[in-house]
Amino acid sequence: MINRLTEHRELDSFDIRYVALILAILGIGVLSIYSVTYGQRGVGTPYYLKQLIWIGVGAAAFLIMWASDYHHLARFAYPAYAVILVMLVVVLFEGRTSKGAQRWIALGPLSFQPSEFAKLILVLVLAHYYSKAPRVGWLQRVIVPGLLVLPGLLLILKQPDLGSGLSFVAVYAAMLLMVGVRSQALGVILLFSIMLFPFAWEGVWGSLHDYQRQRIMAFVDQDYDPGGKGYHALQSRIAIGSGELLGKGLYGGTQSQLKFLPEGHTDFVFAVFAEEWGFMGVLVLLALFVGLIWLSLEIASKAKDQLGALLAAGIVAMLCFCVVVNIGMTAGMFPIVGIPLPLVSYGGSATIMTMAALGLLLNVKRKRLSLFY
């Protein structure tokens, strides 16, 4: 009786609204990738088909995560982080280079981007760290987790992958915010940041690749040299803006169809979507994301324990950060950093990781319903 009730409640956790939202966003992604690569004489499997395969793998990851127990997973947080750090080191020496950055590890015909998975593992590590013992004092609350974040962050920045690096910092900041940092600690962070700023600026600016600096400079002066540095940003704004209210229709996006907008299927997929579906389409997509995040926050706030709550909050923070920064950069609000739009941009590692993370979120809900005290 009790078992059956539990089973029933666990199945309830498989929230149909949640899954529908994810599928809708994934659908928009596949459609946009299909449209932008339509008519391109590609070599091998077309991108949209490959993305469907990634989604299949992602769905498996989602179900596994949903069926597992996050408490068990949390126990493997540190070893998993160690493994991913090793992979990040390997990537620096053995990685496949694309567009000046070394981000991928080749696995036969496929390649795999450890930095994507590192984000999810970082969430797990920090949630595990804070929930294991009451962390009091700014040293335990701020500095020690900061030291945990640092090696991963440095390795990712070395690739260089500014986008993933920023996501790392965002996850850390979100976690700090969730566990609460006393104003004293905040003051110390602020003071240190200001003191370290000149060094950090030198260190960060100096370590950036030329193309990154140019992208940031292009952001500062948006209309400067549109044929050169600002090209990407301008073409993206033109794509979005020219969509107007109702868009140009499927395959109608001249910016992306005629290749004025590079990376149309990956980081700039939002611009493609906005061009073809207009402001109305954009509102729908934003609403889907808000709905998904809203439900996720709901799960976070109803989590029965600290670990679950932090885990859920960390995943939501990561998702939010990627969505906001990606749309913001394609719309010309932020400098261009390579962050894909979760569930929409083409990319195996990112899609699988995001779906696994969402599965983990649902697992937090499932465990809430199955836990009896």
């Binding site: 408490h71 929930s131 294991k132 013992a133 009451p134 979100a174 915010l177 969730m178 566990v179 609460g180 044929g227 073409q235 704004r237 033109i238 794509a239 979005i240 803006g241 020219s242 969509g243 107007e244 209210l245 001249t254 910016q255 005629l258 290749k259 004025f260 906005a274 061009e275 207009g278 402001f279 954009v282 509102l283 934003l286 994301f289 808000v290 995040i293 809203w294 926050l297 976070a300 706030s301 324990d305 600290q306 670990l307 709550a309 932090l310 909050a313 939501v316 923070a317 939010c320 906001v324 749309i327 913001g328 719309a331 010309g332 609000m333």
Partner: protein
């Protein structure tokens, strides 16, 4: 199992913070939405324009230039397909790299390519870099198109002159419009790279023949490669020209001159139609219509024979004894002489301190007007000139069209000089000297004429004073409507000279050929009337003709008309440094006339019943 290490209040704190996160999320999403609303709704139309500009290129479709035919429909100029290389600067990322690629690939002149790339003009409009490419070069570029963003090969028409050098000076040639021309109002609707007539009727009838360019809006990708044409505005072909010349006669006239420098003009005195107009040395308009290198240009321009010069309409020569025709008419009309009054010629004419020689050392004895023309007695005309005075001579000369351009449809026609006291005062600010009248009386001194003027003059005499403006174009075929618009002959009126005078003069000119100075023009086919002339080049001539260096030898003139009874053709021949007119020029005129008569032309003469009068003078309105 995993119970919280934190008291419940801590989780409660977390809940409160999650509320903050929700509010923050909504704020950020609202901000994103606002930004997108700004981009897509407020500035949407602006970005829509930008995206349109991004993808569309206007490609001008050059119109087919009108064709040129001779009076019998023989093709003289047409268009053949050729490959041209265009570059759209908008799509070129690295200009210097492109220059290097094009020079390496096609062996083009780097400086020339660079100059064309930096010339003024829209970045969005393709500019022509090279025309008349070989099929091999065009294929080479096409196969490298992925490495050559912004480069495209267009098939377009290239001007072609099937006759080669034949009628080159009449037809002229075409060329890319110059920067200077582009500034002019008549070329307002043209653009850099447009081909316009640069010489000959190609130039003077350019507006008729060039047509109207069309436009193709082409959608291009980021590399500037054509994806599809969206709007096509068809080009309008230019109109065809039907010339008055007879290509066969033209060829004969040119071959007659051969390697000699000179000109032959043949026209129909009853309409002004120019039947042939040869000028030598010549040029190949096919070569000049191509892109010439600076070196080739210098070679042509600095050629001492000045092949680009149309000697028929631009060459100015002293008329020599051919000038005696208007002089004789003036003498009779002004009653300076009667047909029977005679002058004694002893081989020289003393005026002041100077002795003016007759060409015949011993003199001609007593000569009347008839014999003075037949034997070309200089002393007789010295006397006429001295009695008449330069201003009366000038008046008659002008009535016959001397000293002013004929108005033929060719660019840069020269007018020659018909001197008078007023002319000298104006041109040289000097007084007319009486001795200069004596020289002018036999067509020397300041008097200069063009061969075209002389052909027109002798034609007017042959036609009993009724004259027409010489013309080259008799009809224009409108390619859009298919209508043939005939251009009426332009009458210049009738000289008020007594018919008797013309009869006397023409008798004398006929005898010039039968028993005078031009017996070598005597034909068994047709009766010919004519007058020889020898234009002095160097003042002093001693010894036999052959001992004088060619460039100091005299120019040989012969003007003629035939048949004497009802003239159908008037001819003027000038052979530079060919010596005596009777020996050198007369046989050429005879050949031209005989050829024309043998061709038995069923001339579709276009005449008008509405003569337009030009100036008063001795013209009378006779319609």
């Amino acid at each position: 199992m995993a119970t919280a290490h934190y008291p419940e209040t801590e989780v409660g704190d977390l809940h409160r913070r999650l509320v903050i996160l929700r509010v923050g999320l909504l704020l950020v999403v609202a901000l994103l939405g606002l930004r997108l609303w700004h981009l897509q709704i407020r500035e949407g139309p602006y970005y829509r324009d930008l995206s349109e500009n991004n993808r569309t290129r206007q490609v001008l479709l050059e119109p087919a230039r009108g064709l040129i035919y001779d009076r019998h429909g023989v093709l003289l100029a047409n268009n053949v397909p050729s490959f041209s290389l265009y570059v759209t600067l908008e799509d070129v990322k690295d200009r210097e790299l492109l220059v290097k690629q094009l020079t390496d690939l096609l062996g083009l002149d780097a400086a020339l390519v660079r100059k064309k790339l930096t010339a003024k003009g829209s970045k969005l409009l393709p500019r022509k870099i090279k025309d008349r490419m070989t099929l091999r070069d065009a294929t080479l570029v096409e196969s490298h198109r992925l490495d050559l963003p912004g480069v495209m090969i267009q098939v377009e028409s290239q001007r072609n002159y099937p006759g080669g050098m034949t009628a080159a000076h009449i037809l002229g040639y075409v060329g890319e419009i110059s920067g200077e021309q582009l500034e002019k109002p008549e070329f307002l609707d043209l653009h850099q790279g447009s081909v316009v007539g640069q010489y000959g009727v190609e130039k003077s009838y350019d507006r008729h023949m060039r047509g109207v360019a069309g436009q193709k809006n082409v959608e291009v990708d980021a590399l500037g490669h054509e994806k599809r044409a969206t709007v096509v505005d068809r080009p309008q072909a230019g109109n065809d020209l039907y010339l008055t010349i007879d290509a066969r006669l033209q060829k004969v006239a040119e071959d007659l001159l051969g390697e000699e420098h000179g000109a032959i003009v043949a026209l129909d005195p009853t309409s002004g139609d120019i039947l042939a107009m040869a000028s030598r040395p010549g040029f190949d308009p096919n070569v000049l219509s191509r892109e010439l290198t600076a070196k080739q240009w210098v070679e042509i321009v600095q050629d001492e024979g000045r092949p680009l010069n149309n000697r028929a309409s631009q060459g100015q020569y002293p008329p020599g004894s051919t000038f005696k025709i208007p002089m004789a008419i003036a003498a009779l009309e002004t009653k300076t002489m009667t047909p029977s009054s005679t002058v004694f010629c002893n081989g020289g004419y003393q005026f002041g301190k100077r002795l003016y020689h007759d060409w015949k050392a011993g003199g001609h004895g007593y000569v009347d007007l008839h014999n003075a023309l037949v034997h070309s007695c200089d002393v007789y005309f010295y006397t006429v000139g001295q009695r008449m005075g330069i201003d009366v001579m000038a008046e008659f000369g002008k009535d016959f069209g001397l000293g002013k351009a004929t108005g033929v449809e060719l660019p840069s026609e020269r007018s020659g000089i018909m001197p008078s006291t007023a002319w000298k005062q104006k041109a040289k600010n000097e007084q007319w000297l009486p001795g200069e009248t004596i020289s002018a009386a036999i067509g020397q001194g300041y008097v200069t004429v063009t061969p075209l003027q002389m052909a027109s003059l002798v034609g007017t005499v042959a036609n009993n004073g009724v004259s027409y403006r010489p013309r080259l174009v008799q009809a224009v075929m409108d390619r859009t409507t298919g209508n043939l618009m005939e251009i009426p002959a332009v009458p210049r009126g009738k000289l008020s000279v007594k018919p008797e005078t013309f009869r006397l003069i023409k008798d004398a000119l006929a005898d010039v050929v039968t028993k005078g100075t031009a017996t070598r023009a005597k034909s068994s086919v047709v009766t010919i009337g004519g007058k020889t002339g020898t234009a002095q080049v160097a003042a002093l001539r001693t010894g036999p003709e052959e001992s004088i260096p060619k460039k100091f030898r005299d120019h040989a003139w012969f003007v003629a008309f035939a048949p004497v009874e009802s003239p159908k053709i008037a001819v003027a021949v000038i052979g530079e440094h060919m010596g005596h007119g009777g020996a050198a020029a007369a046989p050429l005129a005879k050949e031209v006339i005989e050829t024309y008569m043998k061709l038995a032309p069923q001339v579709p003469t276009v005449t008008s019943d509405r003569p337009s009068m030009e100036g008063p003078g001795r013209f009378s309105n006779d319609s």
